[in-house]
């Protein structure tokens, strides 16, 4: 209305008495009965999609025929052994107070502690470490404190650990149960008989727990690291062993490396593949796993041609290399005077061929590594990134003198090595290149100090 005033618009044409009537109607539409306006506004002022409270329930009043009073009355509890009378407020309906026991008496539960007779003690329960007196005291406390051993230990006259007390109590109870039972079969199901208390285990467990709880943050971190490392190694071992399992019923616990060397006729992997440094175990294991799975699939075939097998093995070995690298391997083979596909593919020849290919892959990877490092070196010396390409080429040419049989190696200007090559580690890639492999692909001037 004010807004309309401000705007100079005509007021609503409704006459005033009609307005008054419409307002209460609107009010009841806007807010539901049963809860106050403020509370309703808390919920957002809008009716909920699914009313959770039935509105009619909200202001239900007790049926008007009942007369309710509250009275301060005495009561007793069956849970008490004395006759103490206490008072509390009681809801009285039509002058009739509620009947029945104190409502909380049902929660007064206690443990059923088995008590032995002196006879039984003499017969079954004697123990060198415990006197009868002590045992009696123990059982009294157990009953009194409902097997709350921490408290019992606290109140026990002589100094005993919680575990000792528990041990004594459980073994005594067990012995009595078994002795009293008409036949052993009947008590066999009783939890005390089924699961005896193991003192040493408990002591050990609690000690370990306290150790863990009292670890410093530093120790925690170290533990986490060691566990993660162990998990990784175990997993990579599992992967290799799982891949080998179908074709290696050899019952050796030795790791994948030496197991590979022991494989029978179907194997074309020579131990030289396995000489990767320990730090690179994960990559070399994945290559071994690759080869192992190829072997397994070959075995499944039942019959195959040697040339086919060689193709598969070559593929498996080059799986981590991009197309360009494979082409360079082939070029290298040609330069060395070796047939791309052996003319006489006997078992020995195929094995040698495969090894040669792998070694060439290693060679190419090392070359790349060296160039990258030389580029790094020249960037340090020059101190300016802008000079990168030229400087790199100079140092590269110097290094090129030795590489007579290998054709045109990487020039930083035009090389676009496929990123794929670097993602999975191929054979021979050692931990000497901790810096991100992705760095090798970019032009040197984009190198950051953080790469080092």
């Amino acid at each position: 209305m004010d807004a309309k005033d401000i705007l100079g618009l005509p007021k609503t044409p409704l006459p005033i008495p009609q307005e008054k009537k419409s307002r209460p109607q609107k009010d009841s539409q806007r807010k539901p009965d049963g809860i106050s306006r403020e509370v309703y506004a808390l919920t957002g002022g809008v009716a909920p999609l699914m009313p959770s409270i039935d509105v009619s329930q909200l202001k239900r009043r007790p049926p008007s025929d009942e007369k309710i009073t509250w009275q301060w009355l005495p009561f007793t509890s069956s849970a008490r052994k004395d006759d103490l009378q206490l008072y509390h407020w009681v809801r009285v309906v039509n002058g009739v107070p509620p009947t029945g026991d104190y409502s909380f008496a049902k929660y007064n539960k206690s443990v059923d502690v088995i008590r032995y007779t002196d006879e039984e003690y003499e017969k079954y329960l004697t123990d060198p470490k415990w006197t009868k007196e002590e045992t009696d005291q123990l059982f009294d406390l157990c009953e009194r404190f409902d097997l709350r051993f921490i408290i019992i230990a606290d109140r026990f006259p002589t100094h005993r650990t919680v575990e000792e007390l528990k041990d004594r109590y459980y073994s005594v109870s067990r012995a009595i149960l078994v002795a009293r039972a008409p036949s052993p079969g009947e008590v066999a199901g009783h939890p005390l008989v089924k699961e005896p208390y193991n003192v040493t285990q408990e002591t050990e467990r609690k000690r370990a727990l306290s150790m863990v709880l009292s670890q410093t943050k530093h120790q925690e971190r170290k533990d986490a690291e060691v566990l993660a490392e162990a998990k990784r190694i175990a997993e990579s071992r599992m992967a290799a062993r799982a891949a080998e399992e179908p074709d290696l019923p050899v019952p050796s616990d030795v790791g994948p490396e030496s197991a590979e060397g022991a494989v029978g006729p179907g194997d074309t992997i020579s131990p030289s593949n396995v000489q990767a440094p320990a730090a690179a175990i994960a990559p070399s294991t994945s290559v071994i796993a690759d080869n192992a799975s190829t072997l397994a699939s070959l075995r499944m075939l039942r019959v195959y041609l040697r040339t086919y097998a060689l193709e598969q093995m070559v593929q498996a070995a080059s799986s981590s290399a991009g197309l360009r690298t494979i082409k360079r391997v082939e070029q290298t083979l040609q330069d060395l005077g070796v047939n791309l596909k052996p003319k006489v593919p006997t078992k020995a020849v195929c094995a040698e061929h495969l090894e040669l290919r792998k070694e060439i892959l290693t060679l190419l990877n090392l070359q790349k590594q060296l160039q990258y490092k030389e580029a790094e070196g020249s960037s340090f010396r020059d101190g300016s990134y802008g000079d990168m390409p030229g400087t790199a080429k100079r140092s590269q040419r110097a290094a090129d003198q030795d590489r007579t049989f290998v054709p045109d190696t990487i020039s930083f200007g035009g090389d676009r090595v496929v990123k794929r090559e670097q993602k999975r580690k191929g054979p021979g890639r050692t931990s000497e290149t901790p810096s991100s492999p992705a760095g090798a692909h970019k032009r040197p001037r984009k190198m950051k100090a953080s790469d080092l």
């Binding site: 195959y304 593919p345 006997t346 340090f380 030795d402 590489r403």
Partner: protein
């Protein structure tokens, strides 16, 4: 592994040699089926083969559609009889031939035809039951014309293209192993310790067999020689070169690493 002393056959028409009986406590003759099924793990047995073709130009007798007479074949690499392993060979020719599927039931596994065109021939080898149930495919591109196109074509000297390969059988059955134990066509493996073979059961009537080896085959003078020794030497030399280079690179890398250490940016 060929036992050379036994390769001197007593009867040239019977290349299959009767094998010494093995004292096997495990199997009896009646249980030959068991030994057929029983496979030996971690053992592979291979058969070196050569397959290819020889083609003669017909010269004056050549017509437009029959310019060459050629033979496609699969033979043992040392010209031994393959029928110890191969039951039959099926040569699939170009569809322009009559009955392009040619089946050869006995050694020597070859097929002769005349024609003018070069095409791919699919050769399917079927093996005996105790050898392998699955057949194996080979592909050979029929070559009629010599590489050197400018040279004269001769009716006397054929154009020969051969490929060497080895058929590898994994987990061979005991009976197969027993049967081929001393056969020169087969490269017998070293058996794992403790494995003994049952006495061999011959699969066919030996008297009926015709000569299956190709040692005196009419084309044998043109067969190519495949020597693994040459290739091995070549590969060994190449590996040496590569390994030397790798060592050098590794030295260079560690050197450069050392140099780079001094120049680390601030």
């Amino acid at each position: 592994m060929v036992d050379t002393s036994l390769s001197k056959k007593k009867d040239p028409d019977q290349p299959e040699i009767s094998l010494p009986t093995l004292k096997s406590q495990r199997t009896k003759m009646g249980k030959s089926e068991d030994s057929e099924k029983k496979k030996i793990k971690d053992v592979e047995i291979s058969v070196p083969i050569v397959y290819g073709n020889a083609a003669f130009w017909l010269g004056k007798k050549a017509s437009e559609y029959q310019s060459h007479k050629w033979t496609v074949y699969v033979r043992g690499a040392t010209n031994e009889d393959l029928s110890v392993v191969v039951k039959r060979a099926v040569f699939q020719l170009h569809s322009s031939f009559n009955n392009p599927t040619r089946v050869v039931e006995s050694a020597p596994f070859e097929l002769s035809e005349s024609g003018w065109g070069e095409f791919e021939i699919a050769i399917t080898l079927f093996f005996h039951n105790d050898v392998c149930e699955k057949p194996l495919n080979l592909y050979h591109h029929l070559k009629l014309y010599p590489e050197d196109e400018s040279g004269p074509m001769s009716t006397k000297k054929p154009v020969v293209v051969e490929s060497y390969d080895e058929v590898v059988f994994t987990e061979p059955s005991e009976s197969f192993l027993a049967r081929v134990q001393n056969h020169p066509a087969v490269t017998f493996p070293r058996l794992p310790a403790g494995v003994t073979l049952p006495p061999p059961v011959s699969i066919e009537d030996e008297s009926k067999k015709k000569r299956g080896d190709t040692k005196d085959h009419p084309l044998s003078q043109w067969f190519l020689n495949f020597s693994e020794a040459d290739e091995l030497l070549q590969l060994a030399a190449a590996r040496q070169q590569v390994q030397a280079h790798i060592a050098k690179l590794r030295r260079q890398i560690s050197l450069t690493d050392g140099q780079n250490q001094q120049f680390k940016p601030l």
